[in-house]
Each structure stands twice: as C-alpha cells, then as structure tokens.
C-alpha cells in the first residue's frame, strides 16, 4: 500500500493533494486502492495483485481502462473479475463506450478529484453521464440494467450488500455456526470498509 494514501477525508481535502498531475497519475495507476479519501483502511492481497496488473499497463485499454474509470467513480475496492465481466457487457451495449471512459478519466483528472462528487457534475449530460451512471449502477447492483434479461455478473461482490455486511448475512451464506443466537449486533456508527 502506498504510504501517501490519505488516512481520512479531512487529510485529503486539506493537504492530501499530490503536487503535480504526473505524480498523481503515478499514484493512481500504482494503486487503484488508494484513490479514495474516504476511510478505507485495510487491504486485500487479491486486490493488490489486481492493482499491480493495472500498473503494468502503460496506456490502459479494455478492462484496465474500465477499472481506471470505475476507480474515479467509486471509492471502494473493486474486483477485476467483476470489472472484466461488466466491461464486456457494456462495450457490447454502448457504441461510444471507449470515448465515454476516456472522457470520465480525463475530466476527473482535470478536476484533480479524489472523490466522485468533485467531478461528476462536470461530466457532459447525455452519453458520458449515462455511461457513468450505468457503471456505478452495475458495481452496486451486480447487473448493468433493471431489465428482466439482464445478466447477473456479481452477487457476493455486488457493492450494495457491503455497507451492511457486518450485520446482515448475504442469503445462502452463514455468519456463524448453527444455533448461534448469542452474537451481539454490531454498532451502527461504523460502516464496514469495503
């Protein structure tokens, strides 16, 4: 993990900005885990490995570019496996997909945004903004649209389940052994990191 990663939001807004665009790019491409100013602490070896994959690409294309754009739009840890599935589907469905991704990345970088709120309004209405919405929707819902024929591409890893994962077991998965009724509810104050 990068040591430059801001530890909390306050730090990132007051003093956490990288000095130049170049170092910012390096920082981002070296670690897609580290873009957020939100309180993301902790790590996953799996995702570090994925981040290394992203870093290896000089000019990202395909899933890597999609992951880069996604990391601008969502400040959580994202699975390359889910991203690859979603990229293939959206590329099929959106003719201007590559151009939209380029626009999202470019505008976020121009704004030097560390969280999505800092650049989302600057995205041009229409195609680019629609694509951005679909990407965010896909990561959270595990499907790219709400049609009856939409292909499920994530369930366990869909982001909508993550904020409550400390309190609500994902259906079919166990929290504890059988007949365990003694567990104390987790506090609501701290949202799980994901």
């Amino acid at each position: 993990m990068s040591q430059e990663r801001p530890l909390n939001e306050a730090a990132s807004t007051e003093q956490g900005r990288p000095a130049s665009l170049l170092s910012r790019r390096e920082l981002l491409s070296a670690s897609m885990l580290a873009v957020s100013g939100a309180a993301i602490v902790g790590t996953s070896i799996l995702r570090v490995a994925q981040a290394a994959d992203v870093a290896a690409a000089v000019t990202p294309s395909g899933p890597d570019k999609f992951m880069l754009a996604s990391s601008r739009l969502i400040q959580h840890r994202l699975s390359l496996g889910v991203g690859s599935r979603m990229e293939a589907i959206l590329r099929r469905e959106i003719p201007s997909f590559d151009a939209d991704l380029d626009a999202i990345i470019r505008i976020a970088d121009e704004k030097r945004a560390t969280v999505v709120e800092e650049f989302f309004d600057a995205l041009p209405d229409g195609q680019v903004k629609d694509t951005a919405h679909r990407i965010i929707f896909g990561w959270y819902a595990g499907v790219v649209d709400d049609s009856q024929t939409a292909e499920v591409l994530a369930y366990e890893e869909a982001l909508m389940y993550q904020p409550t994962k400390d309190a609500i077991a994902l259906p079919t998965y166990s929290f504890n052994g059988p007949d365990n009724w003694t567990e104390v509810d987790p506090p609501l104050s701290a949202m799980p990191e994901f």
Binding site: L46, V152, A154, T172, G177
Partner: protein, 477 residues
Amino acid sequence: METVRPAISSLRVVALLIAIGTAPAFAADSEEIARGKYIATASDCEACHTQPGGKPLAGGLPLTSPLGLIYSTNITPSKQYGIGSYSLEQFSNALRRGIRRDGAHLYPAMPYASYARLTDDDIKALYAYFMQQVQPVDAPAARQTSLPFPYSMRFSMAFWNALFLDSKPFAPDPSQSAEWNRGKYLVDGAAHCGECHTPRGFFMQKKPSEEYGGAVIGSWYAPNITPDANSGIGALSADELFRYLKYGRVAGKAQAGGEMALAVQLSFSRLSDEDLRAIVSYLRSVPALTDPHAKSKFAQGQPFTDVASFRGVGGMSYDRSLPGGSAQLFAANCATCHSIAAQGSRDTYFPSLFHNSALAAGGGRNVIAAILFGISRSTTDGLAFMPGFGGKTTDIADLSDEQVAQLTNFLVQHYGDTRYSVTPSLVRQVRDGQTPAPALMTLVTVGEWAVGALLLALVIWFIARHSSRTFARGQSS
C-alpha cells in the same frame, strides 16, 4: 443430534463410589475400579470395541487393515463370548503380549505393542474394571475376523512379536519431570498415538526411527505430531495443543476428523486436564522429524474467490456441467458455510480453509476424506458437524470421484500446499478406506503367483510327459 458426552465428572465418580461402596462382595476397591475405567478411557477401548449404537464393548466393529477386514471382539466379562473367564495373567497377556486365553495370537490391529507399556498396577485396575463394572454381553461379536491365507496363520504373529514387540512396561526416566513421564506413559502406552501416527515398515511394524512422523491409515492421513515447526506441531502453542486434544480443534488451524475425531470424543476429551497437559508436554519433547520440502502447514493459502467468472453464467440447469469448473464446485458445495473466499464463519465454527493444516499436509488425502465422509465430533465444546458429500444415504451430496478430485485440487491449489494434486483413483482409494498396499503384501501376492505358476508348470510337464509316453507306447505297439 448426538448428545454431548461429558468428560469423567466427579459426580460420576461419586456415584460410582456409592454404588461400589454399597455392593458387598467386590474383590477390588472402588478406587481401583475407577482408575481402571479411566485407563480404559485413555486407552480408547470403546473406539474399536463398541459398534455405533451397539452394546458397549461387545465388539464386531470392522477395522480396515491392508490385509483385509479385522473385526473387533467382545471384551465384556461374558464367560462364553467375552473375557469373563480370563485370569488376571491371561488378561495381561492379551493386552500386553497379544495372546488370547486359548493361546492364539491377536493381530496387531489390537495395539498390544503400545499397551505393553502399561504398568502392572494399571493392568490390575483395568482387569478390576472390566470384570466388575462392564456389563457382560452374552452374545458373540456380530462378525468374526477371517483374513485370507497366508495372513490367516495367526501363529506367524509369534515371529512378529519376537522381532518387534518390546514387552517391557513403562519405566519412568528419573532425569525428567513427573509431568513428562506421565505424558510419555500415556502417549506411548495407553493412548497408543504411534499406532496411527508412526509409519510402518516392511512387516507393518512401527518404524522406531520415524516415531510420530505421520502415516496413512485407512482413508485418512495421521499427520506428523513431532515438534517440527513446519511439518509437525511445533508452530502450535502448548495451550493450542491442549485445546486440540480437549475439543478437537484449534480455530482456523487444525481440526480432528476421522479416527482422531473419535479419539478426541471418546478418549482425550474425557481425560483430566493434567493428563492432557502431560501429553502435550511430552509430545513437544520428542525428536522433531522434518520434511525438508515442507512449508509451514499453518500458513498456506489466502482468501481467494473466482466467483466473478461464473456468477450468472449459463443459467440454471440440472445437468452437471458447470461453467465455473472446480471454482463453481466450491461455491456450490462449500461456500455456504466456509464462505465465498474460504475465510470461514465469524465464530470460527466453520473453519477457514486457508492457513488450515488439513489442506497443507498429507497430500490432500484428508481433504478428500473430509469431503467424502464429513466430520462429526462431540465434545464439551458442542457438536462439530460437516455433512459428507460422498453419496451415502445421510450425505448432503453425491459427488463423483472426478468431482471430488477437481474440488480437492482447487482447494489445495488456492488454500493449501500448491505442491499437491490428487487423482480420481486416489479419491476411490479413500472412499474404499484403502491404505496403499504394503510391500509385504505385494511380495506375498507375487509369491502366490510364483508358487501357482510353478505348480501349473509341473502339471503341464507331467501331462506332457505322460501323454508323450502314451503316444510313444501307442506307436510301438
């Protein structure tokens, strides 16, 4: 659901004392009988001599041996079918020399080579317990052992005994602590750990140079329990080992399955804490045996999931084709309890599969066995249960040998020791409870064939000679 069997409680002992105290004509005192019962627990007589659901110690349980099935015998004090008419000396000979009352030899499936360490005092206490407290069952054991020739020659065990049986009872080493000596007495003697954990040589004798180094026994692999940090138990603290014996698991690192689950349930969990600590203390002092290639068996693997590659792919179907392959076998059969990246449940009831010695030692054999047979182990910690996936009537699934092999390979590759890979034929072996055939058996089989071939050659030669003579005679006449 099984009831939790309590360890020997003081309450029971008190009840026993009252019961014995009020009975008039017992030769042995109640303290001796209670001690005998405790030694019987430590020796785990029940594991082999009591059929599940059967009468205590009435025998008939099949024990797999490389040479064939050996059935345990009725060891209740029934005069006709059990050991009721054994004298103390005959009882002692059976336990420590492997010789029955009628003079016939026992097969070393009866761990008399370990029980030979039992002291005269403890043999006497055991005798008192068996004769005076065990309920006689006046019926023969459900089945009798009949091994095929040449193993049916029980007298051959006399040679085995002459070669391999050390018949000296335990003598304490004065240079060691009382705890260590008690531990050695239990480990080498009553608890007969080496019967499974020590590899066997050509004549199926325990190899002294590899004591407690780990061996395949039936379907399972009894791991190295010497204090080596990587191959053995050296990485576990004394307290972790103590809890393993008492409850059958060290959360996230090791859990007792198969015969060991039974040993924990019936024996170790009922021993006194002092005795368990003594066992741990001794085991941590035996010479460490190292597999130079072994990596730490408690530190392999990491959280991993490949669910994104197949979630929602291919739709629902009832056929057996799985777009996600072995990763999907895992997700469909294992992940509900062990969770999608194999990290186990929060309360550790369902263990994590990475950092777990079951996946990092023994070549994947115990993974296969756990998948096929599941786990059921009852201690004061409660019931630890995993269903089997081997297709028995009470199993939760019916995975084929190929599927179990695929699943096992997925598990050891991602969560265990990546050196291992298993084949469907190994799964078949484990399913059938086969220990790989020892060299002796191959030799005997070859010998049988050789003798057979020789006899056949003689017969052919004789017929050929006879018919050529007849032919010659016919010619001349």
